[in-house]
C-alpha cells in the first residue's frame, strides 16, 4: 500500500502529529488509570497533593487487595470458563455452517449469509427481558451456564462471517483434487481445507473469547451472586459499594484485563482484517 503523504517532510510531520493525537485520545484514560492505581489512599485522596505526582511512595497494596479481598479471581475464572465453553460451542456449530456458506450454496447462500450476520445486530438490550424469563424456566438463573447458552447467539454470526472469508481463501481445486484422490466431500475438507484454515480458526477463537468478556447486560440480568459473576459485571457491582469506591483497585482490575487482551488482538489483527475482507466480498 503506497504510503500516502509520508514522503514529504510536511507529510511525515503531519503523520506523527496525528499519530500522537490519536495515541493520547485512546490511551490517556488507561495512562491515568495506570498512574493512579499505585498511589496510596492518603496520597490520592488528598486534594492538597499534586494529582500528577507521587507525594508518597507507590504501593502494590491495592492490587494485592484486589486479588485477596475481592472475588476478582473468581470473576476471572468464571469469565475464562464461560469464554472457553462458548468458543467450543461456536466452533462446533460455526465451522460447518461457514464451510457450507462458502462452498455449498448457490444463490440462496448470499441471503442466508446476510441473514445470519443480521442476527449479530439484534441487540441484547432487546432480548434480555424475555431471556431472563427463559433462563428462569430452564433453571439456570444465577448460573454461569446461562451465559454459555446465550453467548453463542452473537458469537456464532461473527465467527461464521470471519470463517467464510477464510474458507474462501482456500483454492477450490485443492479440495476437488482430494475428492478425486479418494476422499468424500467431508473427508476432503478435513484433510486439506481445515489444516489450511487453522490460522483463521485461531483468529476466531481470540475474537470470540474476547467478545464473551464484553457482555454486560446478560451477565447483569442473569447472575446475582458474586462468586458466579464475570469480570464485566463483578467489578462494577463488587467494588462499588454504595458511595465508597475503591478506585485504585478498580483501575487495577480494568488495566489487568485490558492490556493482555489488547496485546493478543494486536497480534491477530492482520488476520482478522483478512478474514473480514474476504467475508465481505459477495455480501
Amino acid at each position: 500500500m503506497a504510503v500516502r503523504g509520508a514522503s514529504t517532510v510536511r507529510g511525515r510531520v503531519t503523520l506523527y502529529v496525528l499519530a500522537f493525537c490519536f495515541a493520547v485520545f485512546c490511551g490517556f484514560p488507561f495512562l491515568w488509570a495506570g498512574f493512579t492505581m499505585f498511589r496510596q489512599d492518603s496520597d490520592l485522596y488528598n486534594t492538597q497533593h499534586d494529582p500528577f505526582e507521587y507525594s508518597k511512595p507507590a504501593t502494590l497494596s491495592h492490587v494485592t487487595d484486589l486479588f485477596s479481598n475481592t472475588p476478582y479471581l473468581h470473576f476471572i475464572l468464571n469469565s475464562v470458563v464461560i469464554g472457553l465453553a462458548t468458543v467450543g460451542i461456536t466452533l462446533v456449530l460455526g465451522v460447518p455452517a461457514a464451510y457450507a456458506l462458502a462452498r455449498l450454496t448457490g444463490r440462496w447462500g448470499v441471503p442466508m449469509a446476510i441473514a445470519i450476520f443480521a442476527v449479530y445486530l439484534v441487540p441484547p438490550t432487546l432480548l434480555f427481558l424475555p431471556m431472563s424469563r427463559l433462563i428462569v424456566t430452564l433453571g439456570l438463573q444465577d448460573s454461569i451456564w446461562s451465559l454459555v447458552v446465550v453467548y453463542p447467539g452473537f458469537t456464532i454470526p461473527l465467527s461464521v462471517w470471519l470463517l467464510v472469508g477464510f474458507f474462501r481463501s482456500v483454492p477450490r481445486d485443492v479440495e476437488e483434487q482430494a475428492q478425486v484422490d479418494g476422499y468424500s466431500r467431508v473427508g476432503a475438507v478435513v484433510h486439506t481445507v481445515l489444516p489450511l484454515v487453522v490460522p483463521g480458526i485461531f483468529t476466531v477463537i481470540v475474537f470470540t473469547f474476547t467478545l464473551t468478556m464484553q457482555d454486560f447486560i446478560y451477565a447483569l440480568a442473569f447472575i446475582s451472586s458474586s462468586s458466579h459473576m464475570t469480570i464485566s459485571v463483578g467489578v462494577p457491582t463488587n467494588l462499588i459499594k454504595g458511595d465508597v469506591l475503591y478506585w485504585q483497585s478498580l483501575m487495577a482490575s480494568a488495566v489487568i484485563v485490558a492490556v493482555p487482551v489488547a496485546l493478543v488482538y494486536n497480534l491477530f489483527l492482520n488476520r482478522f482484517i483478512q478474514g473480514f475482507t474476504l467475508g465481505a466480498v459477495k455480501g
Binding site: M1, A2, V3, G5, L15, A19, F22, C26, P29, F30, W32, L44, Y45, F52, I89, L93, G94, P96, A97, A100, L104, I116, A118, L121, V122, P123, T125, L126, L127, L129, P130, M131, S132, R133, V149, V150, P152, I156, P157, V160, V186, F216, I217, I231, S232, V233, V235, P236, W247, L250, M251, A254, A258, A262, Y265, N266, L269, F276, T277, A280
Partner: protein
C-alpha cells in the same frame, strides 16, 4: 461428419448396473449444505429468534417479573410506556448521543485508518493503544472514565484551572451538569467505537487494488485529489458498514450510561436501552420494559436495510 455417427459401439458396451448410490448421499451438495448449516441456524433461531418473538409479544401484554400471568392487552402497554416523560427524553438522548458520537467516529476513524495504513516507527504501539478502548470490556472502560471524570479528582480540573475556566481550586463536575454529562457519554461512546470502525475501514483500504492508486498517481492526481476522487469513493461502502456497526452498538448500549451516569443527573443522560432495563428489571414491569426496548427495533431495521442497500449499490460489493 456429425459426432453422433462417431461412436458405433455405444449400444453394445454399457452394462447399466445401478450404482451404489445411497452410500454417497453425503457427497451431494444439495444434502450436505443444509445439513452443515442446520445446527447453527437452529441454535440461532432458538437463542435469538424465539426471544425476539417473545419480546414482541411481551410488549403487547401485561407481563410482570415474578408472576406467570400473561394477557394480551393490545397497544395499552405501548401507550403506558410512551406516556412517561422520561421515555421521551430517553428517546431524544438515544438519537442525540448516537448521532453525534458516530459522526465523530466516522471522521476520526477514516483519518486514523490512513495513519495506520502508512509505515512509521511506533506503529505497532499506536495500534496497541488504539485497540485498547475496544478490547476492554465496556463496563471496565466506563469505570475508567468514571474515575477520570470524577467530580473531585479528575485531572481535567487542573487543565481547567490553568485555562481559567474555573477558579483555582474549583471543580468542573463534568458528570453533574446536564450538558457536560451528555458530552461525557458522547465522548465515551466515540472513544470505544473508534477502534472497531478504524479496523473496518483499514480492511477496506487494504482491499483497494494497488494499480488503481498507482494509476491515479501517474495521471497526476495530488494527495487531496486522490483522497477525495479515488480513495474515499472506493471506501464508501466500507465506511457505511462501519457506520452501521457503530450506530447499532451505540444506540443499543446500556452499559456506558448505566455505569457512568446512571441516567443522571435526573434523567439527563437516560437512553432507551438503560431505561428499558430500569423499567424491566428494577421496576419489575417486563411488558413496559419490552415496549420501551421495542422502539429500538424499527430504527435498527430501517437503518440496516438502508445501509446494506446503499452499500451494494455504491460499491458493487
Amino acid at each position: 461428419m456429425s459426432s453422433a455417427a462417431a461412436s458405433t459401439r455405444r449400444g453394445r458396451r454399457a452394462r447399466a448396473r445401478p450404482p451404489r448410490r445411497r452410500r454417497y448421499l453425503l457427497d451431494r451438495e444439495r444434502i450436505l449444505g443444509p445439513l452443515l448449516l442446520l445446527p447453527a441456524v437452529l441454535y440461532l433461531v432458538a437463542v435469538v429468534g424465539y426471544p425476539l418473538v417473545l419480546a414482541i409479544m411481551y410488549s403487547f401484554s401485561d407481563v410482570v417479573l415474578g408472576s406467570p400471568r400473561f394477557d394480551f392487552v393490545g397497544l395499552q402497554t405501548f401507550r403506558r410506556a410512551i406516556s412517561e416523560p422520561t421515555f421521551v427524553h430517553a428517546l431524544e438522548h438515544s438519537f442525540l448521543i448516537t448521532g453525534i458520537s458516530q459522526v465523530l467516529v466516522i471522521v476520526l476513524c477514516t483519518v486514523l485508518a490512513f495513519v495506520l495504513a502508512a509505515n512509521f516507527r511506533g506503529k505497532w504501539f499506536l495500534r496497541f493503544l488504539v485497540l485498547m478502548p475496544w478490547t476492554t470490556p465496556i463496563a471496565l472502560g466506563a469505570i475508567i472514565w468514571l474515575w477520570m471524570l470524577d467530580s473531585i479528582f479528575t485531572p481535567f480540573d487542573w487543565f481547567a484551572q490553568k485555562l481559567h475556566v474555573v477558579a483555582p481550586g474549583g471543580h468542573l463536575v463534568l458528570l453533574g451538569h446536564e450538558g457536560t454529562a451528555l458530552g461525557s457519554v458522547i465522548a465515551v461512546q466515540t472513544w470505544r467505537m473508534l477502534p472497531l470502525a478504524t479496523v473496518i475501514v483499514l480492511a477496506g483500504l487494504s482491499s483497494i487494488p494497488r494499480d488503481i492508486e498507482e494509476q491515479a498517481v501517474v495521471d497526476g492526481a495530488g494527495f487531496w485529489r486522490r483522497l477525495f476522487s479515488v480513495q474515499l469513493p472506493l471506501l464508501a461502502p466500507v465506511i457505511l458498514v462501519a457506520v452501521l456497526f457503530g450506530v447499532v452498538f451505540t444506540f443499543t448500549d446500556m452499559a456506558v450510561v448505566f455505569i457512568l451516569t446512571g441516567g443522571g443527573p435526573g434523567d439527563a443522560t437516560q437512553v432507551l436501552p438503560s431505561w428499558a432495563f430500569y423499567k424491566g428489571i428494577n421496576g419489575g414491569n417486563l411488558s413496559v420494559g419490552a415496549a420501551d426496548a421495542m422502539f429500538m427495533f424499527p430504527v435498527l431495521l430501517g437503518l440496516s436495510v438502508l445501509v446494506l442497500r446503499l452499500a451494494s449499490r455504491v460499491g458493487g460489493d
